[in-house]
Symmetry: C2
Subunit: 203 residues, 2 copies
Amino acid sequence: MKLYDLPPSPNARRVRIFIAEKGLDIPTVPVNMMTGENQTEEYLDKNPLGMMPVLELEDGTCISESATICRYLEETNPNPSLMGNDALDRALVDMWHRRMEFELLDPIIKIFVHTGEIWKGRVTQISELAQINKVNVLSRMEWLDKELIDREFIAGGYYTVADITAQCAFVMAKAAVDIHIPAELTNLSDWWARVSSRPTARA
Amino acid sequence: MKLYDLPPSPNARRVRIFIAEKGLDIPTVPVNMMTGENQTEEYLDKNPLGMMPVLELEDGTCISESATICRYLEETNPNPSLMGNDALDRALVDMWHRRMEFELLDPIIKIFVHTGEIWKGRVTQISELAQINKVNVLSRMEWLDKELIDREFIAGGYYTVADITAQCAFVMAKAAVDIHIPAELTNLSDWWARVSSRPTARA
């Protein structure tokens, strides 16, 4: 088994943290998007959309989509649980995971893509879209701060894949588009201190 | 159990089709977004993001996110399987389901939101974004046509949630933004004929 990896990508990082939290040892193969390594015929056979990460199984089957890779690893390595312990718990973790994907990670990636130097000439950058997403992300942080008033982690009382995705979103926000968690959002700041100090946070 | 529903929404429709394919009988409660029924305090208690659909369980627990609702219903009502039969099959269905969400449904909704009369004044419409998404959707249809060359359904040999999401995306494309499957994409057209003639297609 191996993981085709894009080291700075928040999507790849969430899979690496998930693997580290599970205590698994899966070799990674970095794929350099900037030199087009993800557009070779060989790589497109693994993922026709040319995106990373991809988990390649022993028989050559390739699984793409970060959340799908996590789900497969959860099912084949249930302990420690990172995606819920029964049908309802799994539903609530999944709901929170998707909220973190759509309300935080996706708009933060869009801000980066629509403003970043590195994307100039590769995509049509729309600065108005980046601006709208920036406003939305700030408002979602305020919402999340209120949600965290009475619990330690995003989906409830224990660390899950929803925390992993949110923490990768905030790493990118800070490093790539200069958006930081406002100090007055104390519940969110406390959550951030808890998750970013885990031994797996730099996976 | 009841489903808070937005009848014309492709997200709500995919849950309704999923429920119909499972043979379940879950009453629906329509929520009128245009008159702000999704912004009342009572509704925001069910989903703080104000979106539909939401599945309310007997004990009052609310599950939002269409894919999460389908997953919960799959786990509690396994037959017929619509999300895979073992860990690897579930991973492949999930991968294809996410591709249909991100590569088709999401851009089609964006085209509608950024061009539709009904959204004027409610959001900042960026026509350039709609145009980019239109080009992307057409290119994804060509890709999907090639993928369907040797199989009957999106994720493999049987009908799954990935087909449901793709068919709801195409219903919206046709009805709301006048994008149709090009006749020369014969594999995709044949797939469309197969899925749109199912008894559940108008759920």
